[in-house]
């Protein structure tokens, strides 16, 4: 194989585009797990739910799936609030969140997946967008819109979440609740409300990420399972509780996959990603930017 500069640059570009998407998928976990300590292993199920909702609207009315998901994000927000409320009442308040909370979300993941199968069947669903088939070419480097548009939306969403967390009152309350709940209460803020809001935000990002997913590739209910490992891998790699860390972690994973696929053999790409995760857990559990 010719190791040309163009191939190398293409691999990096493809890795970055893919990484941007991975960031959108993982930013929710960065909030719910990284900051709130809620191991929402059902996060990918909500992503797939978002994909299907985008698919239905696109199929019926032809609207762009990403716009639809942004418009419908309040629905996911409400869903997140409801889910957190159940989780809090059943587990967090009783102090049993670790094992049982995990099992609870695992059950939710399966219920969501199987319900989607019962309603939609197992066929792969795709969407039609105006830009899916356009590719921008810069010399030998091609940038397909199918990946570039989700990339742009992801980065915007991650940046949006970060500025919400650092610049608004509620956002800073979320960061505070991760650090010291008691102090937060002493300052007159209800930690439950703050956590509820943050968790709801994480589910809202899942809804948007789902629309991005179905623009990039065909979707069927069980592909959520393949993202469970990935979202936690990105979160752990980047460092718990750091949004920029999640973005960088996502880029690292995307580029690692892209390089493995291009130069070594695509079969090994998942092993590389998860090997990275295992190595991070074993040697630097706080991740790249974690506290």
């Amino acid at each position: 194989m010719e190791f040309s500069a163009a191939l190398l640059v293409s691999a990096i570009v493809a890795g970055l585009l893919l990484g941007g998407f991975y960031a959108a998928v993982s930013v929710g976990i960065s909030i719910s797990f990284g900051m709130l300590d809620v191991v929402n292993i059902a996060h990918p199920a909500f992503i797939i739910l978002g994909s299907y909702i985008a698919y239905i609207v696109n199929d019926r009315f032809g609207f762009d799936p990403i716009l639809v998901s942004v418009v419908l994000s309040p629905v996911f927000f409400a869903l997140g609030m409801a889910l957190y409320r159940i989780y809090y009442l059943a587990f967090e308040r009783r102090g049993q969140e670790s094992l049982r909370g995990l099992a609870f979300f695992f059950g939710v993941l399966f219920i969501t997946e199987v319900s989607l199968v019962l309603v939609f069947g197992v066929d792969y669903r795709l969407v039609q967008t105006g830009y899916s088939e356009i590719t921008w070419r810069f010399g030998e480097i091609d940038v397909p819109m199918r990946l570039a548009v989700p990339f742009a939306v992801s980065v915007a969403m991650v940046a949006g979440v970060q500025s919400f967390l650092t610049r608004t009152f509620f956002g800073r309350a979320v960061l505070a609740v991760a650090q010291d709940q008691l102090a937060l209460r002493l300052m007159g803020v209800n930690p439950f409300r703050v956590k509820e809001l943050a968790f709801a935000l994480s589910i809202a990002t899942a809804g948007v990420a789902g629309a991005l997913l179905i623009v990039i590739q065909p979707v069927q209910p069980s592909i959520g399972r393949e993202y469970i490992g990935l979202v936690f891998a990105v979160c752990v790699l980047g460092g718990m509780g750091s949004i920029w860390g999640t973005l960088i972690g996502a880029f690292v994973l995307g580029i690692a996959e892209s390089f493995t696929s291009t130069f070594f053999g695509p079969s090994w790409a998942p092993a590389v990603s998860f090997g990275l995760l295992l190595a991070t857990l074993a040697f630097r559990p706080t991740g790249l930017f974690g506290r």
């Binding site: 099992a103 695992f106 199987v114 752990v236 079969s267 995760l277």
Partner: protein, 316 residues
């Protein structure tokens, strides 16, 4: 009841079940109960690390498939007899548990859970790329022509092996539960920091627990190749093994060896019935719903209900 007595009783029951099963002419009984027995072993194994020690393992399939693929490799190498496959598969899965435990059990429980997920993916990729055991193409394992012990069909041999392995797993689980080791694990589950401060060698115990748990899961997988005659990675590494091995102890009760047994028999039987009556997409839905209901409303499982009922009776 001492452990030795319990073991004797367990094996006596196993012998009785094995002998009694020969009276059943219907082969469906064997194939249906094989699956339930498989789940009893997996649930019991999971509970050693999950219920006793408090560390959730999402990678049941990784250990299970290690046992299965070790059996495949030995079959390809020299047509190993079943007993060697079982022993080798158990040891291999135990080593995997040891390795993963050593790497990740120093961290919080949640990171261990994520690491087990990662492990499943890494092992899956490794198996897919390993042509010797068939890779993605799958491996064919033909049941031997001569059936040992003069039994009529090979499925009977597998069934009897599974019955004895169940008994073995239950004996091991109970032995751990009632020993000093078990109390150490319970201390870790309740408050790891306090346990460490009280002098419990937490890391060593956790690694031991992970090794035994992994080994037993691998043991359950060793009969899969002969049972199916065809092993391929995506079904061997299926996530449904993980969800079942978590749901069953949770529903049955995680505090003792009896819980996973109850949960596995109950849930396994329900699934087998659903399989041949309603559409089986409902299978996983039922497991998921039961899991969520029990974990929210009855966190101590069926055993927990039973204990609460006993306590209420004693009070009145």
């Amino acid at each position: 009841m001492s452990n030795k007595l319990f073991a004797a009783v367990a094996f006596a029951i196993a012998v009785a079940i094995a002998a009694g099963s020969q009276l059943i002419g219907n082969e469906y009984f064997f194939t249906a109960t094989y699956t339930v027995l498989q789940f009893i072993i997996l649930a019991t194994a999971w509970n050693i690390l999950g219920g006793y020690t408090g560390y959730v393992n999402f990678g049941t399939a990784a250990f299970f498939a290690t046992g299965a693929y070790t059996a495949v490799a030995l079959y390809n190498a020299f047509h190993a007899p079943l007993i060697i496959m079982i022993v080798a598969g158990t040891v291999a899965a135990g080593l995997v548990g040891l390795a993963v435990g050593y790497l990740t059990l120093r961290l919080r429980g949640v990171f261990f859970a994520i690491a087990t997920l990662a492990l499943a993916v890494v092992l899956y990729t490794f198996v897919v790329n390993w042509d010797y055991v068939g890779g993605a193409r799958g491996a064919y394992i033909l049941q031997p022509r001569e059936i040992p012990l003069g039994l009529p069909r090979y499925i009977h041999v597998l069934y009897i092996a599974m019955v004895f392995m169940c008994a073995f797993a239950l004996v091991v689980a109970r032995a751990i539960e009632t020993s000093t080791l078990g109390r150490g694990l319970a201390a870790i589950r309740d408050d790891e920091l306090a346990a460490e401060c009280s002098g419990v060698p937490t890391l060593r115990l956790k690694i031991f627990s992970a090794t035994v748990s992994g080994a037993l899961m691998g043991m359950a997988g060793t009969t899969l190749p002969y049972y199916l005659s065809y092993v391929e990675p995506s079904s061997a590494f299926s996530l449904s093994y993980a969800v079942n091995s978590i749901a069953m102890p949770l529903i049955g009760g995680m505090m003792s060896w009896l819980g996973p047994l109850i949960g596995a028999v109950l849930l396994g039987t329900i699934q087998q019935i659903v399989q041949v009556t309603v559409s089986s997409a409902w299978n996983l839905l039922i497991v998921g719903v039961l899991l969520v209901l029990f974990v929210t409303l009855a966190p101590n499982g069926i055993m927990g209900w039973f204990d609460a009922w006993l306590r209420a009776r004693r009070r009145s």
